[in-house]
C-alpha cells in the first residue's frame, strides 16, 4: 500500500538545455538566428527591428507603434485586405507591433507553408506602401483606444503612472502608443521616413524556430534580407531620466468605484544591469510569486484583493519598478500601509532561507516550461538580440539564479528600492478614500479627473 500521507520526494531530474541555435550575418547586414525545435510540425518566424518606441521623436510619440502596425496594411502590389487574405489562406496571420525597444513581425506556420509565407513576408517588409487611408484608420483606432481607457480603471492607472516616474522630456514618461495629440499629428510621409531609417538591413534580425533545417532557412530568408532598406540612424536621447521626486499620492477620480486600482513605484533598472539576477530574485520574494510577501499579505492574510504583485518592466533603459493591485475601496489606506511596510521590510532585514529557496527553485525549475512553444523560443532568442545579452545567457541562467544569496537580495533591495521616492497612483472614488490616505505617510495628495 502506498503512503498517501507523506509528501513524496522528487525523482532524479532529467537535464534540460535551451534549444541550440545558429547565428550568422547575411550579405547586407541582416542577422539570421535559427533554432531547430522539431517537437511538432510548426515553425515561428520572428523578425525583429531596432525600431522601438523609446526612440519616437518628441511630439511624435506613437510613430514606432503605428509604423509597425501599418506595415501589414499594403504593399505596392497588394492592399491590406489582400495581404490578410493571403496569409490567412496559409493558415497564419502576420502580427506586427512595437514595444519600447523593438518592432516585430511574426508568423507561425505549418512547414508546408514556410516558403510561401517567407516570400510574402519579404514583400511586406521590403515594400510597404503605408496607404494614406489605412494610416488614418489606424490613427483613429488609437484615439478610440485612448477613449476606452478613460472608463477602464486598470488601463487608466497603467497609462497615467509613468508620467510621475520620469522627467517630462523622457520618452518613458509618455504613453508608448502616443497621445491623441501626438498620434493626430503623424503623417504618412513621416511614417515612411521612420520606416526607411529604422527598418534597415543592419537593424534587422530574422529568427526562425521550430521544425526546420538550418540550410533550408538560409536560402529562404536571404531574398528577404537583401531587399530591406540600407542606411543607418544614430540612437537618440536617453528615454529614462527619473523625475526628481519625493513620495506623493496621485488620485484619479472615478466616482462610485467599488475598488481602488493602485500602482506604487519608481524608475527601476536597465535590463543589462549587473544586479539583474539578485533583483529578479528579490522581486520574486517581494511580489513576483503567488507566495510572495505582498500577495500573501494583501490577499491571503487580509482578503483585501484578488491579487497583488510587483514587477520590473525590463527595458534597455530603466523601466518602471511597480507594485500593482486593486483593493475594495474601504480598505485603500490600509492596503497602501501594508504595501509600504512590505517595501520597508524588504530593505531592513535579510529574507529567510525558506523564502530565498522558494524563489530560486521556482525560477530554476520553471525555466524549461517557459520554452515549450516555437513562439516562446523565438521570443527568447529575440531578447538576446534586443538586450545584447551573451550567447550563453540561457545556458547560464539557472547557475546565475542559484548564486543569489540572502545577502545579495538584501543589498539589491537597499541599493535599488527607494522608499522615499515612491509614487502612488490610485484610480478610485476620491470622495471615499481621500481622507484615510492622509495618515498613511505616502506623501502629498493631489487629485486629477479621469479625462
Amino acid at each position: 500500500m502506498m503512503d498517501v500521507i507523506t509528501k513524496p520526494d522528487p525523482g532524479p531530474s532529467r537535464e534540460y538545455h535551451f534549444p541550440s541555435f545558429d547565428e550568422e550575418t547575411l550579405p547586407g547586414g541582416t542577422r539570421l538566428v535559427v533554432a531547430a525545435a522539431p517537437k511538432l510540425p510548426i515553425i515561428t518566424i520572428l523578425v525583429v527591428f531596432d525600431a522601438g518606441a523609446a526612440e519616437d521623436p518628441a511630439g511624435k510619440e506613437g510613430i514606432a507603434r503605428l509604423t509597425a502596425r501599418a506595415l501589414s496594411e499594403g504593399t505596392s502590389k497588394w492592399d491590406g485586405a489582400e495581404l490578410a487574405e493571403k496569409f490567412e489562406q496559409m493558415g497564419t496571420s502576420l502580427d506586427t507591433g512595437a514595444d519600447w525597444d523593438s518592432a516585430i513581425a511574426r508568423v507561425t506556420v505549418l512547414p508546408g507553408n514556410l516558403a510561401a509565407a517567407l516570400t510574402l513576408l519579404g514583400e511586406v517588409l521590403a515594400d510597404p506602401a503605408f496607404p494614406e487611408r489605412e494610416v488614418e484608420r489606424l490613427k483613429s483606432e488609437r484615439i478610440a483606444e485612448l477613449l476606452q481607457l478613460e472608463t477602464e480603471p486598470r488601463g487608466l492607472a497603467d497609462e497615467r503612472f509613468p508620467a510621475f516616474l520620469y522627467r517630462e522630456s523622457s520618452r518613458y514618461a509618455r504613453s508608448q502608443g502616443g497621445s491623441a495629440e501626438s498620434v493626430r499629428s503623424l503623417t504618412r510621409s513621416e511614417i515612411d521616413a521612420f520606416y526607411r531609417s529604422r527598418y534597415t538591413a543592419g537593424r534587422t534580425t530574422v529568427i526562425v524556430a521550430g521544425d526546420v533545417k538550418k540550410a533550408d532557412v538560409r536560402t529562404l530568408v536571404t531574398p528577404l534580407a537583401t531587399a530591406l532598406p540600407r542606411g543607418s540612424v544614430a540612437r537618440l536621447h536617453a528615454a529614462d531620466i527619473p523625475a526628481p521626486a519625493s513620495r506623493a499620492i496621485h488620485l484619479i477620480t472615478k466616482d462610485g468605484a467599488p475598488q481602488s486600482e493602485i500602482r506604487v513605484g519608481h524608475a527601476g533598472l536597465p535590463r543589462k544591469h549587473p544586479d539583474f539576477f539578485p533583483v529578479l530574485v528579490m522581486n520574486a520574494i517581494l511580489g513576483g510569486l503567488f507566495g510572495s510577501r505582498i500577495n500573501l499579505n494583501l490577499r491571503e492574510k487580509h482578503g483585501y484583493t484578488y491579487g497583488a504583485s510587483s514587477s520590473y518592466d525590463w527595458r534597455r533603459g530603466a523601466g518602471p519598478f511597480e507594485i500593482s493591485t486593486a483593493v475594495q475601496s474601504d480598505v485603500t489606506a490600509a492596503a497602501l500601509r501594508e504595501i509600504f511596510a512590505e517595501v520597508e521590510r524588504m530593505r531592513s532585514e535579510e529574507v529567510t532561507l525558506e523564502e530565498l529557496s522558494l524563489a530560486t527553485s521556482y525560477l530554476e525549475g520553471v525555466f524549461p516550461i517557459r520554452f515549450e512553444t516555437t513562439s516562446a523560443i523565438a521570443s527568447a532568442l529575440a531578447n538576446l538580440i534586443i538586450y545584447d545579452l551573451p550567447r550563453s545567457y540561457y545556458d547560464e541562467y539557472r547557475k546565475e539564479i542559484s548564486r543569489v544569496t540572502a545577502a545579495t537580495v538584501l543589498k539589491a533591495a537597499r541599493d535599488h528600492i527607494h522608499p522615499e521616492e515612491l509614487q502612488t497612483v490610485i484610480v478610485g472614488d476620491t470622495g471615499q478614500i481621500r481622507e484615510g490616505l492622509t495618515s498613511v505617510g505616502a506623501g502629498n495628495i493631489s487629485v486629477a479627473p479621469a479625462k
Binding site: V4, D9, E85, E300, G303
Partner: protein, 436 residues
C-alpha cells in the same frame, strides 16, 4: 498530427488519460471535475467558483496555501478555473515532480474537509468578492457574461445564473455548503485526470493507482434541471445596459449546436469566417472598409449540453452611434443569411484552425486540458486527435445549412452596452470628428 493517448479507469470510477511526449522534462497534470455553476442550488450562485478557491486552502496533509508553495518550490505553475459545466485544476512542473502533483491532487480529492475552517472560508469569500469587483463590477462590459446568461436562458435553466455569483449569495455560503458540495461532486467517478508530457506510462499508472485508488466512489449527483432548448429563440430578444463604458458594444447572440456535434463544427467554422482575424468578414467590412467598428469578433461558447451560444461581438468607433452600430451588425448577418459563405472562406477558416490546433498541442498543459475536456464531456479523450478531421469535413454547404437554420431573425438576442448618459465623451468625439 496525432498525439499518443492511453486511457484507463480506476475501480472507483476515476477516468485517467496519459499522453507521452519526451521532448522536454516537463509534465502536466490536469483534473476536470464535472461540476460547474450549473450545479449550484438556488440562493448559492457563485458557490462552485468559491469552492474552487477553497481547494487551495489545504487538505488533511497539506496546510493552507502549501499546495501553491510546494508546486512553485518544485519549479511548477498551477491554477484552477470554474465554468458553467466544469471546474479544472492543473499543474505543469518538472517531470521528476509528477508524484508531488498527484499526491497534492489526491489529498484534496480524498481528504479536503479536515482542513476547512470558518476563517479560511471568510477570507476566500472576501478574495472572491474582490475578484467580482475587479473582473465584473469595476470593469467596462464586465457584466457581459451575467447579462447574456439572463437574456438567453430561461429562468429555471442551469446556465441562467451568474457564474461569479451575487454578493448576497457569496455572503450566505457556509461550511456546511462546502462539505455538501465536496461530498456530492468532488468524487473520483465525477472527475477526469490527464497527464501529458515526459512520463513513463507504467510508472504514472502505478502512482495514480497508489494515490487515487483508495478514494471512495461518490454516491451520485442530483440530476440537473432539464437542459434541452429549442434550436431557436422563436422571437427577438433584446437587453440594453447603460454602463460606465466609453464606446457602445453589441453582443448579438444565437442559439447554436452543442459542442462536439457535427453541426457544431460547421458553426465553429462560421464563427471563424465572420470574426477570426483581420481577413474575417466583420473585420474587413466593419473595421477596414466602413470604419464603423473599433473591434469585431465572433466565437462560440463551446457548451456541451442544452444549447451552445454563437456570439458576434462588435465595439463601435467613437463616431458611430448605437443605432448605426446595431444596424451595421444586423446588415452583416442578414447578408450572410441571404448569400451564405463561399468555399474559399471556409478554406481560410480551416487553414487558421488547423494551425491553431497544432500550435496549442505544443504545450503540455494545453494537451492535458483538452484530453480532460473530451474525456469529461464525451468519455472519449481520443476526440483530441479526431477534432482536426471533424473540421476538415466541414464544407461551405454544411456551413450554409447551419446559417439557414440558426442565423435567421427568429434566433437573435441583442445585448447592447451603451455609455451612461453624461459620460462626457464630447472632447474626444470632437477630436475624432475633426479628423474626418
Amino acid at each position: 498530427m496525432r498525439i499518443p493517448i492511453e486511457t484507463f479507469h480506476l475501480d472507483n470510477g476515476l477516468l485517467v488519460t496519459l499522453s507521452e511526449d519526451r521532448t522536454a522534462p516537463i509534465v502536466a497534470v490536469n483534473l476536470w471535475y464535472h461540476v460547474g455553476s450549473a450545479n449550484e442550488r438556488t440562493g448559492r450562485t457563485g458557490f462552485a467558483h468559491l469552492f474552487e478557491h477553497m481547494l487551495f486552502q489545504g487538505s488533511a496533509n497539506v496546510t493552507a496555501n502549501e499546495h501553491m508553495e510546494l508546486i512553485q518550490r518544485a519549479g511548477g505553475t498551477m491554477n484552477g478555473s470554474t465554468w458553467l459545466e466544469r471546474t479544472n485544476y492543473y499543474e505543469t512542473l518538472p517531470s521528476n515532480q509528477l508524484a508531488l502533483a498527484l499526491w497534492l491532487e489526491a489529498d484534496r480529492m480524498g481528504r479536503l474537509l479536515p482542513a476547512m475552517t470558518q476563517e479560511k472560508l471568510d477570507t476566500q469569500r472576501d478574495v472572491v468578492k474582490n475578484e467580482r469587483r475587479w473582473s465584473v463590477d469595476n470593469q467596462p462590459y464586465g457584466t457581459m457574461l451575467e447579462k447574456l446568461q439572463e437574456l438567453v436562458f430561461p429562468a429555471d435553466h442551469p446556465f441562467q445564473h451568474s457564474l461569479i455569483g451575487s454578493m448576497e449569495d457569496l455572503s450566505a455560503a457556509s461550511l456546511e455548503d462546502v462539505a455538501g458540495f465536496f461530498a456530492t461532486f468532488y468524487t473520483p467517478d465525477n472527475a477526469v485526470l490527464s497527464i501529458a508530457g515526459d512520463v513513463d506510462r507504467a510508472e504514472a499508472r502505478c502512482l495514480v493507482e497508489g494515490y487515487f485508488g483508495s478514494i471512495p466512489r461518490g454516491k451520485g449527483k442530483p440530476p440537473l434541471a432539464p437542459m434541452a432548448l429549442p434550436p431557436v429563440f422563436g422571437a427577438r430578444r433584446r437587453d440594453i445596459v447603460e454602463d460606465e463604458v466609453s464606446l457602445p458594444r453589441i453582443f448579438l447572440t444565437f442559439r447554436s449546436p452543442v459542442f462536439g456535434s457535427d453541426a457544431y463544427y460547421a458553426a465553429s467554422v462560421c464563427s471563424a469566417i465572420l470574426g477570426m482575424r483581420r481577413g474575417s468578414r466583420l473585420h474587413r467590412s466593419l473595421i477596414r472598409e466602413r470604419q464603423v467598428a473599433a473591434d469585431a469578433a465572433a466565437f462560440t461558447f463551446d457548451l456541451a449540453k442544452g444549447t451552445d451560444l454563437f456570439v458576434v461581438d462588435v465595439t463601435a468607433r467613437p463616431e458611430t452611434g448605437v443605432t448605426r452600430l446595431e444596424d451595421e451588425v444586423e446588415r452583416e448577418i442578414d447578408e450572410l443569411y441571404r448569400d451564405g459563405v463561399s468555399e474559399l472562406e471556409v478554406k481560410r477558416a480551416l487553414a487558421l484552425i488547423e494551425t491553431d490546433l497544432v500550435n496549442a498541442m505544443q504545450s503540455a498543459g494545453e494537451r492535458a486540458d483538452r484530453l480532460s475536456m473530451f474525456a469529461t464531456f464525451f468519455r472519449e479523450p481520443e476526440l483530441v486527435n479526431v477534432q482536426a478531421d471533424h473540421y476538415r469535413a466541414v464544407t461551405s454547404h454544411r456551413v450554409n445549412d447551419f446559417i439557414a437554420e440558426r442565423l435567421g431573425e427568429d434566433n437573435r438576442a441583442t445585448l447592447l452596452y451603451v455609455p451612461r448618459a453624461g459620460q462626457g465623451t464630447e472632447g474626444v468625439l470632437a477630436e475624432a470628428a475633426s479628423e474626418a
